[in-house]
């Protein structure tokens, strides 16, 4: 996510590293690179222009502090500007009403139905809510079935009432929610164009009938320059309270995020970052700016880890790492925990200086992980605790048992040894984190 912007900015800034001070000439190249990078990232061209001008003005006029070198000062300026562009402070979701009503709107194919499921899951997990999903897309074939399937897999109730009248569906759903102690109502609406007056009227009618506390625009992060018309169109008609950016797990540069807040001041509340139903993360401008500037996003990793791994599990692992008693059995457990985090490449990208280490664009085949698991599972408990005992015959047996080759078994053992060495170094304080 955003890695491309990061790349270009990193390069641009590198060029002024050795300079004595910031002048119009020596940041010219950097500014041009930044402009290109932002445009390639689909940031709205008006936003790009303002961004560049703001940086230029601030950079040239800036006092070069004794404590900061020009390139550091420049990075700070760019980062501050990015943060303010991305919108200052994070605005959390309204959760206080009983019931709270949230309506999802957007273009066709932006991911409303999937996001509805993810949000319901999030609200139940993080805010202990008892949500009700309401199927209001009466147009797209099988849209209602899609929401029902998602609801079923999450164990969250879905309110349906045929394909007649969305306003009636919603008012009846509200009634139903009150009777059945549902405290959060999520309305999935049909996809529509912001210029389709008839369908936009339908959304206004729903709004007038139940007065949603949150009206959220779901927008595809891959969207180009037209995004701003879409956002403005929906906002003018419905007074949006926020947006959710979807499909950020693709290799989109997601410049839409920069445009959204700057041009409309509507907060981005969440980003969709995997196809799984827990693939929804809260949006933090500060963290996103760090990510763009390749300063890593440790906080987001920590949040993610916290949400899927229990504290005692983590402590247990950490203790073993420290004592050096970390064996293949623990490795297997860790592997399973990592798998819960979703695609590993998404996590790697968030590490500080991921680009420098060349791990920002790694594609990891989930099958490789499965193979490693298969190999370890083919070992006896004794072997897992004492990997040193693994010699040729045992290795051959394990290879056969797991359906992999002996080379792969060897590779795994080697990687495990290296990992152990690294852990020892980290825990003994002999290795500095690469900040």
């Amino acid at each position: 996510m955003f890695e491309y912007i990061g790349d270009r900015l990193t390069n641009a800034i590198k060029n002024i590293r050795g300079m004595g001070r910031i002048t119009e000439e020596n940041i010219g190249d950097a500014l041009r690179e930044i402009r290109m990078a932002l445009l390639e990232a689909d940031v709205n061209y008006v936003v790009v222009k303002e961004f560049i001008n703001a940086i230029k003005e601030k950079a040239i006029g800036a006092e070069v502090d004794k404590s900061l070198k020009p390139d550091e000062l420049f990075i700070k300026l760019v980062k501050d500007e990015l943060v303010s562009l991305l919108g200052g402070d994070y605005v959390p979701l309204e959760t206080s009403k009983n019931p709270t009503i949230l309506m999802l709107v957007g273009l066709q194919g932006s991911g409303k139905t999937t996001t509805a499921g993810k949000l319901a899951n999030f609200l139940r997990k993080k805010h202990a809510k008892n949500p009700l999903l309401v199927a209001c897309d009466i147009y797209r074939p099988a849209a209602i079935e899609q929401l029902e399937t998602i609801g079923k897999s999450l164990g969250i109730e879905v309110f349906t009432e045929g394909k007649e009248n969305p306003v009636k569906i919603v008012t009846d759903a509200l009634e139903y929610a009150k009777e059945n102690k549902k405290d959060y109502i999520l309305i999935d609406t049909a996809g529509r164009l912001q210029i389709d007056t008839e369908l936009m009227q339908e959304l206004k009618d729903i709004t007038n009938a139940v007065h949603p506390d949150e009206t959220i625009l779901v927008i595809d992060a891959m969207m180009g320059q037209d995004a701003i018309n879409v956002i403005q169109g929906f906002h003018d008609a419905l007074s949006l309270t926020g947006t959710i950016l979807t499909k950020l797990d693709g290799n989109t540069k997601g410049g839409v995020a920069l445009s959204v807040r700057h041009l409309t001041h509507i907060p981005i509340k969440f980003v969709g970052d995997s196809e799984k139903l827990d693939g929804l993360s809260e949006f933090y401008p500060e963290r996103m700016a760090n990510r763009i500037l390749d300063m890593g996003d440790i906080l987001s990793i920590a949040d993610k880890v916290e949400s899927v791994i229990s504290e005692s599990e983590a402590l247990d692992t950490a203790r073993k790492m420290k004592k050096g008693t970390f064996d293949l059995e623990d490795f297997l457990t860790t592997l399973k925990q990592i798998k819960k985090l979703g695609p590993l490449e998404n996590i790697l990208k968030m590490l500080p200086q991921a680009r420098k280490m060349g791990i920002n664009n790694i594609n990891i085949d989930p099958k490789d992980m499965a193979h490693i698991e298969a190999i370890i599972l083919s070992m006896t408990p004794y072997e897992r605790h004492n990997p040193d005992c693994l010699k040729a015959t045992r290795k051959q047996r394990i290879a056969k048992g797991s359906g992999r080759s002996v080379e792969e078994v060897n590779r795994l053992l080697k990687q495990f040894e290296e990992m152990k060495k690294m852990m020892k170094m980290v825990s003994s304080g002999n290795m500095k984190m690469p900040f």
């Binding site: 061209y45 932006s110 797209r140 074939p141 099988a142 210029i195 180009g224 693709g250 540069k253 594609n363």
Partner: protein, 326 residues
Amino acid sequence: MGLFDKLKNIVSKKKEENKETTELYDKGLEKTRKEFVSKLSLLGIKYNKVSDAYFEELEDVLLSADIGVNTVFKFMDRLKERVKKEKIEDTKYLMEVIVDELFIIYVNNENLSTKINIQENGPTVILMVGVNGVGKTTTIAKLAYKYKSMGKKVMMIAGDTFRAGAFEQLKIWAERTGSLFYGKENIDPAGVVYDGLEMAKKENADIVFIDTAGRLQNKVNLMKELEKINKVIEKIIEGAPHETLLVIDASTGQNGILQAKSFKEITNITGIVLTKLDGTAKGGIVLAIKEEVDLPVKFVGLGEKMEDLQTFDIEEYIYGLFKDMV
């Protein structure tokens, strides 16, 4: 005769033959035209003479139409060169040169065919691929409708066994268009494709559409699955798939180019279907994809109705965009 007049002639001749098509393009491109062309026209009013400031604003207009950063920069270089060589000063005349150059971007390299490789004997297999939410399933419905009304026996195979409701959605479309249907839920898509194609052979279907799950182009495992589906198709019907169409949402920005590039790398994409062109004011992606990936656009979606999916016609497209200036 200037380019505008030539285009006008071509399109008005076509208009007599097929009035509806021209009107569809006209309507479908309304949003793009309004924004893009009115900006260009304003530029012509603001500046009489070609200048640096003029070029800078022109670049903004092109960038804002999603024509693509690289395509725009190369375009600007070519344009500046031509201006220098032909000593063009008048911005009104330059406008014609601009349209001319945009046209050239598309017709370059000759990879333009919008023809679908229809097999005389046995089923023609058309595989539909793309990222999530671009409109693959709906496009199949529209194409099925098109071939159905040409008297073909059409079949649909539900290869999207991942997204909840995808199976039902395609099935409903098969019923509505009177097409044959094969699908099973929650199993390996390659297996569904295998059984579906066996059925297509038995039923003597003329055209078989295979729907696939939306996949982001950077997901290795999903892209591998696509390879597997391809192998299965080839095994059952030699030489198939006869067409692999990449469906792209017209409102996609620069990522559309990446999508085309990565899908082209792993499967033999034969053409692009550009959906939702009527919904965006930025239909410039047509040019960007052509220039950067050299894949022809075969169909464009110009509205929500069944007949709104049209064979792509570059002349109608350019005319639809610039008709207010012609």
